[in-house]
Symmetry: C2
Subunit: 581 residues, 2 copies
């Protein structure tokens, strides 16, 4: 027996009990969905959670009555007669008629008839009464059209058995714990404001600490690896993007033009053409290559409001962006270097190849000259270089047709979220088009003018999205170096106030992010509060600690570590912070 | 005798010698300007610098001929006859006629006649032939209108004596040395790009280092002083600025609206309303105040293209901005704290009160309710608080009427540039209007809802402008901690290559910004190059240094300091860098 039949039959039973309670109800439709079902109703009043409890009880009664589910083909006239008081059903009947689709009804014992093509259980007794649940009520326009009446939709879930149902709720609970939007609110990391606008997050002090740590980490690391970190403006004349060719390709996701004097300015959707200006303002020679121009670059893309998702999908973001300009023959080595950097960065953030992400080789389509710059030879060469690098690294990867940029193929780092869904976190793109468009050149060993290629890459991605990934990965319990508050000091009694303050000052002087909870609460409550805030280290100080000049250390996830000298504790966590453990 | 007469007479002598060389020349006008004069000509060919030399020689001849300057009133008909071949003069004659202004001509001996009202020297012999110079040639439209023909304008300067002329050129040379636009180019710090747009600087790697150092310095310092550093988006719905009241007041300097779905977005001209969102998203109590919300905030203002000046006046800038929300009775103390911070920051940058800057108390106008929010009591209170603070500090300050913000009075930090011209570098504003508009509140000790006030302030100003000030202050020779390259290593011969590389690596490991000049050049040339780049420390390594394991240190401005152990040198400069000496 298929679980879908159970779910579908439950939607009929739901309609049956709603009809019993509200004889005037106008019935919408009741299909099977992932994990369960729903049914739409036009009702004389708004439903409350208690109604769902009632309905569940009534459904269980119908299940125990072992009602048969039987199908019957019927003629149009008969159908119209049966559903004469159901305008939505009549609308469907008319539509079926126009489309010349056969009509059938399903009878559930003698308590309910629905216009339906199946499939169903044969008998309601087959349904496990302990393995379903009505979960929520939501508004839904008839047929999804906002010009139609708004109905009330009741959602339910159903499984083969109670164990599966429980597992489902556990997964859901996990999602609640790991959804970065919920964590962000609980830990006070970022907000959205209606006045500021959709998809435009504002980072609080705590969220900003995470962001600043990530930004400094990547800037330091990239400079160490030979990148030149620059600042370029967030706006430019649209001519810049016409020259690059982005404008026609990405126009729909760019912001509107702003007319200033004789110029049309636009918020930048990407940074590459800005960086090319910083390459070509003076002559370059082979000795300087590769030139790696990097920036924490604010970018602006129009995303449909329905697609905006917390920090994961926003309308402005800060990309750790870079454009490496180099000789063609340097490409292979440099792509290895870029992937080394990405693997280093991801591992510092706690993401691991294979378990958390995998590589995707995104290829072009030689036949689609509209979507991809026409230059078969360069496409072949570029795709082969990327493929060769991935093979040499022995990294698991898969190839995806028709996923390249218009200017060349790319390697995408596909990150899995806590639900297993994949999203592109960073990319490494091979570009043989922009150097032509921006007339980028260098003088080679022989004194000849040559055309370089460009690698577009991001190392830590869009900071906003990366924060979302990290929050979900750690369910908010961030590594020490990223924690907005690293240590919280709790005094047991007022007697220990001065001592706790002296410890607070000592930690502050060493640049550790520390808070002191000296409120008038029990120590148990203070510990619970600090744990909810996911603070890595809690220092409890009472009479005993004060007398011995120590602190009682509680480590997140480890519990009570006992008393330590402050200097020992300090040394240990400073080492951890520096090494970004 | 007025110097203006000399300058004016020189412009006639210039016209006389040009006419002699180009008999077909069409004469424009030749007025006196600051430090000298110019004359406009329509000529059959472009002038070259050598022409100016010729003209100078010829003018000197005319001076030695002691030609008389004599005025004569003339009738319209006579004037038209005299200037029958001079269309620009005829245009002027017609205009004078229409405006019923009297006509007069000036005769210079019998070599030149000009339509002119004076004043002049009586005799060219009065002019000091050693105290003038023709300085440059530029294009200029007739009467400044680009629809008219373009003329060639010859500029000259003239003074009472040779000493004054020399002093003028010395001042000019100083300006050349200190103009941040020239320094920026010479030291490769920032560029502008036509494709990107006017007033939108792009910072190179080196310029970005200065910027990053300043940004990190101020963020660290402010966090130490209890500021919450945040990140908020560069765009917002225009409703945000309608709520704040900025939109009507500053509309002309804001960028155009961008329509996105049902919203109108705008690039932010200031950050305050963003920060208010981060205040008011949760209830606040008196215990939390003052709340200091700070940001390195990108802001966007439309400046007329004629007013754009290097980094001093741009169309987008990054302001070290903050908004302090506090109880009214905390204002005095907090303004002292803000001025303490500003004085700390300026002194770290090498600017000193009285010599480099002074305070301006900018007041409102109770009678102008259109320009200033109407609330006389609050204006009086606020102005008195600011005045009291300035008096308590015993800082020299002056008061300026009608220079306040629409929401309250302010203290401006007026910075002098190398020419003595004053510009506002930072401001501290007292605001009693925004809390009403954004409904900002806090719960006071007695449990009552109260309205706070806001202090808007900047500590290090707009980073771009501050960089301009610093570059001009130091003529590019930046303090060690701000220098893009702190140490340059020069090897004397190829034999010392390995040794110089080992020193380079050691310095790099300690995060000192170091370059190695191992090119095939003489050591003298290498030193000169490094000095032109204004590098603070030059390490010369040759056989002697290699043998003794030392480096020969040259300090900028101090010269040769002799040989030192690398570890001693390192220790010394690391200390200097850390203390930002």
């Amino acid at each position: 027996m298929k679980i879908e039949n159970t779910r579908h039959s439950l939607s009929h039973l739901l309609a049956a009990v709603v009809l019993k309670k509200f004889p005037d109800v106008k019935l919408g439709i009741g299909p099977v969905i992932e994990n369960g079902f729903y049914y739409d109703f036009l009702l004389p009043r708004s439903l409350a959670p208690e109604d769902l409890k009632d309905f569940e009880k009534e459904i269980k009664k119908l299940i125990s009555q072992k009602l048969s589910f039987t199908i019957k083909k019927i003629a149009i006239a008969e159908a119209k007669k049966i559903f004469k008081d159901q305008p939505f059903k009549l609308e469907l009947i008319n539509e079926y008629t126009r489309e010349k689709r056969p009509l059938s009804i399903y009878k559930t014992g003698d308590v309910f008839i629905d216009l339906c093509a199946g499939g169903h259980v044969k008998n309601s007794g087959e349904i496990n009464a302990d393995a379903f649940k009505l979960t929520s009520i939501a508004g839904a326009y008839w047929r999804g059209n906002e010009k139609n009446p708004q109905l009330q939709r009741i959602y339910g879930v159903a499984f083969e058995n109670k164990k599966e149902l429980n597992e489902y709720f556990k997964r859901l609970e996990e999602a609640e714990k790991r959804d970065h939007r919920i964590i962000g609110k609980k830990l006070d990391l970022f907000i959205f404001s209606d006045l500021v606008g959709k998809g435009l997050p504002l980072f609080t002090e705590k969220g900003s600490i995470i962001r600043r740590e990530l930004e400094r980490f990547i800037v330091e690391e990239e400079i160490k690896r030979g990148y030149k970190h620059v600042y370029t403006p967030e706006i430019a004349r649209v001519e810049l993007y016409k020259t690059s060719g982005h404008y026609p390709y990405y126009k729909d996701t760019m912001y509107p033009l702003m007319k200033i004097d004789e110029d049309e300015l636009i918020l930048r959707p990407m940074t590459c053409p800005h960086h090319f200006q910083l390459y070509s303002y003076k002559p370059r020679t082979y000795k300087e290559l590769p030139i790696r121009i990097a920036e924490l670059a604010k970018q602006f893309r129009y995303e449909k409001s329905g697609e905006l998702t917390g920090l994961m999908r926003v309308r402005t973001f800060c990309l750790a962006d870079a454009h490496i300009i180099l000789a063609k023959e340097q490409a292979e080595n440099e792509i290895h270097e870029v992937l080394n950097l990405i693997e280093f960065v991801t591992s510092k953030l706690g993401f691991h190849k294979e378990t958390d992400y995998r590589y995707r080789l995104s290829l072009g389509d030689r036949k689609n000259a509209k979507k991809y710059y026409k230059d078969d030879k360069s496409w072949n060469l570029a795709e082969n270089v990327l493929r060769k690098v991935l093979k040499e690294r022995k990294s698991p990867f898969f190839e995806a047709q028709d996923e390249a940029a218009f200017y060349g193929p790319k390697i995408d780092i596909q990150m899995k979220n806590f639900l297993g869904k994949e999203d592109t976190a960073f990319t490494v793109q091979y570009d043989f088009v922009m150097p032509k468009r921006f007339n980028l050149t260098y003088i080679d060993k022989g004194g000849q003018k040559k055309e370089p290629i460009v690698i577009h890459r991001s190392s830590i991605g869009a900071i906003e999205r990366t924060i979302a990934f990290i929050l979900e990965k750690y369910a908010g319990a961030l590594p020490l170096w990223l924690s907005p508050v690293q240590v919280k000091i709790l005094n047991i009694t007022e007697r220990n106030q001065k001592y706790s303050e002296s410890i607070y000052e000592k930690l502050r002087e060493t640049d550790i992010r520390v808070e002191l909870d000296d409120a008038n609460k029990t120590i148990g409550k203070k510990i619970r509060d600090a744990e909810l805030e996911k603070i890595p280290y809690i220092l409890v100080v009472g009479d005993k600690e004060e007398k011995t000049g120590t602190v009682a250390v509680r480590q997140r996830g480890e519990g009570d570590l006992g008393s330590q000298k402050l200097s020992d504790f300090l040394q240990k966590i400073q080492k951890k912070i520096t090494s970004k453990e």
